[in-house]
Subunit: 247 residues, 2 copies
DNA sequence: CGCGACCTTGAAGAACGTCAATGGTCGTGG
DNA sequence: CCACGACCATTGACGTTCTTCAAGGTCGCG
């Protein structure tokens, strides 16, 4: 899927080129990073809360999520990650994980040792700035989710998530014509949005009844983008996407 | 208050020295940054959602907060900031603000032009890494708040906030003996935790009745730290504080 | 003294959670 | 081929938490 949508670039080049302008030296530095690609099964933990990871993980295919689990077993999903993302880039600067990174679907990922990333960051300030910026966009998305969790009702939260994921997938060429893969269960949506599965189910049915979306199995179709944006009060500014192509 | 607790250092030196080891050159670079100190009244907006700021702001005294406001006027407070913080450091990399920065109390802040920060970041990788790390701790706090907003009940959220702010204040010498300044209104606590003012009021009364805290006016006393930690399921790992002094 | 800002209280209702059961789909093994 | 189990979506009934509305009450300050 990744390979199909363009020449086979190192995923990091693809990612960072969308953020900044990379020199040939920058690209070479990235190309020369050692990589260890692996295919992981669904619902597999990659790095756990409390770990001290020695690698960062780049997603090539599939969806990942980060989450925290409370004492009583309640889980809060903090983010979803799709191809091109580096979900645990922060571990380069914060040695101890304060949450868990797992696969959602089967996923292909590449592990890059911290030391190599650190060398590259020291030698190539442009890349360092781009990586920093990437973690800041991450934080911007957290802020938007906080706003949803604190102040939006269930329907708004779910609509907002659909809009966000569609745009993120679109930005990496994995969505078009208001259709995309959406491989989450209703329980996972609930864990991300602070809702019970039952309530997610009923609310999704409302969105369907209002002809806003069509979601069954792994496939999502947005029938009324404008309506969904309105329902979720969705404003994509927080995604800090430079090239704003029409979705 | 800042000056009273140590020799008059540049606030950024103080901040970064707690994160990393600064060389003399690093310190000189920071000292030579131009600063424009200002005293701002309470509830004053400093940078607004949608702005393209040209400076970063360092807090010397008082509390600031970041927030988003939804269409219907509902407000979500995203973070509180105390002396030593650089609440809008992200604007160095993300030109457009996706939220608003305001004072909570009267506050003294210093503005540093982006260009000077950029020059320093380019010339001093140690400082760049420390600033990056600071924004990552910021993001870690967002994640913890998300978990509270999504999965904790009102009592847990409020207890957690008390624990967090006490530790943050303690880390910069503004809290001791389980006492600290806590200049928020109940409405502001509600806006931060996704609760109505009425519910905050009743829940705070429960915490008082359980002899966990004493909060009146601007002053907070934690009567039972262990109990409060338990009520809020508070684990300070996410603050990524290096030197973990006993609170 | 009076006004504004904030805290407090009561009553009623909406949104959401919990519990428990049912049904659908798919892969797997007998 | 069919039965079975796993996983997920769905439904109904019933609680609970939290919100909303409305009304005092307190305190500091001009």
């Amino acid at each position: 899927m990744y390979a199909a949508s363009g020449p086979l670039l190192h995923p990091l080049i693809r990612k960072l080129a969308s953020i900044t302008t990379l020199s040939d030296e920058d690209k070479q530095a990235i190309e020369s990073l050692p990589t260890r690609p692996r295919v992981l099964p669904p619902r597999q933990e990659i790095v756990r809360d409390g770990d001290r990871p020695s690698h960062c993980c780049v997603v090539l295919e599939g969806w990942l999520c980060r989450s925290k689990t409370l004492g009583d077993g309640k889980r809060q999903i903090l983010s979803f990650h799709i191809p091109g993302d580096v979900p645990d880039l922060q571990s380069l600067q914060l040695p101890i994980m304060d949450h868990t990174l797992s696969t959602v679907t089967e996923a292909t990922v590449v592990f890059i040792p911290h030391e190599n990333l650190r060398d590259m960051v020291a030698a190539r300030p442009t890349i360092a700035a781009a990586l920093w910026r990437d973690t800041l966009v991450d934080a911007a998305i957290f802020r938007e989710w906080m706003t949803g969790l604190g102040r939006r009702d269930a329907k708004g939260r779910i609509a907002h998530l659909f809009c966000e994921m569609y745009l993120k997938l679109h930005a990496v060429g994995l969505a078009a014509d208001y259709r995309c893969d959406f491989p989450l269960t209703q329980t996972e949506v609930g864990d991300a949005l602070g809702l019970s599965t039952v309530h997610v189910n009923r609310t999704v049915q409302e969105l369907r009844a209002e002809q806003l979306i069509h979601w069954s199995g792994r496939s999502l179709e947005i029938l009324d983008w404008t309506g969904l944006v309105k329902t979720g009060e969705f404003d994509p500014t927080y995604l800090h996407v430079q090239k704003r192509a029409a979705p």
